[in-house]
Symmetry: C2
Subunit: 311 residues, 2 copies
């Protein structure tokens, strides 16, 4: 069993590659829910949805989120009705949020709701939210705190980030199955997701970081930083806010207490000495996933790196 | 001010005609909410929506409900997720239900939510739900009770109806503004809607029927029965379940205690003697609204009939 800790965009691409290498039934994803939001009265879980759509073959290639070929007709009328529209939901996408919101309203956990939704999409892998309790990622800026989506989507990550916090994380518990999955895994992969606001919330749920240290499974991360900058999104800015260098060194330091191996891009092969001094093995490959075979090759490299770990 | 008591389909066409004859700002509709349902977790008010879309110029001409040219992409994914789909909501239509559900969840009344929605659509007329409390129309059949939408949409009004009841009507109160509107009206028109399950729930809200009797405004109804059958839908079957003949006589009897004048179709001009013996004036015209000028002419006839009433 391969366990992947992941956010949305980069992680969704990574699991698409992994599915080409191992049967989907042998994959468990543990997904960030710190970005979840109540939008138009619905419980939206952007990262869970990206992983679900990726696994169902529905993820929009062009946008990297939402459903391929989706329409936005509801959004247009919502705008006319004066409701906020800075966060876009497609018409097909809405179905998932409507069903999830109803299931939660009926008392189901987010884990149960996700299980029902992924089953209906004939997804053979297991998709787990990091927690069933509410953890909210907040980005601290000089003019006040923003929810992650306010910072990322509404403000297009332009405000200066001076810090990040995860409201509710102290009392959160890992969702049912998360710790067991990590404990019994053949390998754990940290997807090429933002270390601060995609993987960070997962690690902030008490028990998960500890289990990553204790598991006998090799723990491998794919660096989302290439050539001193994030492949996409605000990972660089947010790493700086945490005092982490925007480099593979910064990624290694974010995970140093549990990481066995780090997959870095060819572009970063020169500046790797600091990582190995932390006792973390390095694998160098192309980490930019543009094609289906890029994704597959990266997944193979991650699994090879895991197999090479001596624990 | 013209007050129209109305359901969805026929009433929506009627108010489109009325808008051609009097300024929209002089029209108040009092709309049936006995058909409202919770669908996909949203508060759906089919008749309020039909009237709103009619007033906004958005009503689908082909379907007679929902938004013209709407898509059903959300519905398709909802079906894949295993949720019930016998009641169809279009993607644009969903926007109204999402906004309404949020407003109600924030503690707004249905009247307030409707006022906000119609204002956003630049509707100059006043659209009032009959009540802000829950009244549910139930159709009694030999095999059990059905909600109105289960009977009408899911079962396509095929089960035998042995009766109708309006759960919650005893303790319901007219929505703010309803009684005042009827009291101060220059004319009240009962739209060509189903007397049992469209107008019936409105009349079942304590105080409304009494105000129709007491108002000094002339009260005129347009018969939804033409040639011994309903123009559309199950009005005939449901009138029979109430012991009413499926004829203009049956319509007159349903409203006899407050009705001053009844507009009937040319086809029924021969069988009208029973109605006049109830003290109800008759106007004969074409009541089938196929074109815009049909609608306008019918509205003119209704207003003329109102003006002719001596009270």
């Amino acid at each position: 069993m391969i366990v992947v800790l992941t956010g949305g965009t980069g992680g969704a691409k990574f699991v698409q590659g992994l599915e080409q290498v191992v049967p989907a039934a042998q994959i468990t994803t543990v997904v960030n829910t710190g970005d979840d939001l109540n939008w138009w009265g619905l419980h939206v879980s952007p990262d869970l949805d990206s992983i679900t759509y990726a696994m169902a073959g529905l993820l929009s290639r062009e946008r990297g989120w939402g459903v391929e070929g989706d329409t936005f007709n509801c959004l247009q009328v919502i705008a006319r009705l004066g409701a906020p529209t800075w966060f876009h939901l497609g018409d097909r996408d809405l179905a998932v949020h409507l069903v999830r919101t109803q299931l939660l309203g009926q008392g189901k956990t987010l884990t149960e709701a996700t299980e029902m939704i992924t089953r209906q999409f004939d997804i053979a892998s297991r998709v787990l939210p990091m927690t069933d309790t509410i953890v909210q990622t907040r980005v601290i800026t000089p003019t006040g705190e923003l929810s992650f989506q306010e910072y990322f989507v509404r403000e297009r990550w332009q405000p200066e980030a001076t810090g990040v916090r995860f409201i509710g994380s102290e009392s959160a518990r890992p969702a049912a199955g998360v710790l067991e999955a990590i404990h019994k895994a053949d390998a754990v992969v940290i997807a090429p997701s933002n270390p601060v606001t995609s993987v960070g919330p997962i690690l902030a749920v008490p028990g998960i970081r500890e289990e990553l240290r204790e598991t006998s499974a090799p723990v491998v991360a794919v660096s989302p930083i290439v050539g001193g900058a994030a492949v996409s999104g605000p990972a660089g800015k947010l790493m700086q806010s945490q005092g982490l260098p925007v480099s593979i060194d910064g990624v290694a330091r974010a995970y140093a207490d549990f990481l066995d191996a780090l997959i870095i891009d060819e572009m970063d092969a020169g500046g790797a000495s600091g990582v190995e001094s932390l006792g973390i093995a390095l694998s160098v490959t192309n980490t930019i996933m543009q094609t289906s075979s890029d994704k597959e090759a990266l997944a193979r490299t991650a699994l090879s790196a895991a197999r090479a770990v001596k624990k």
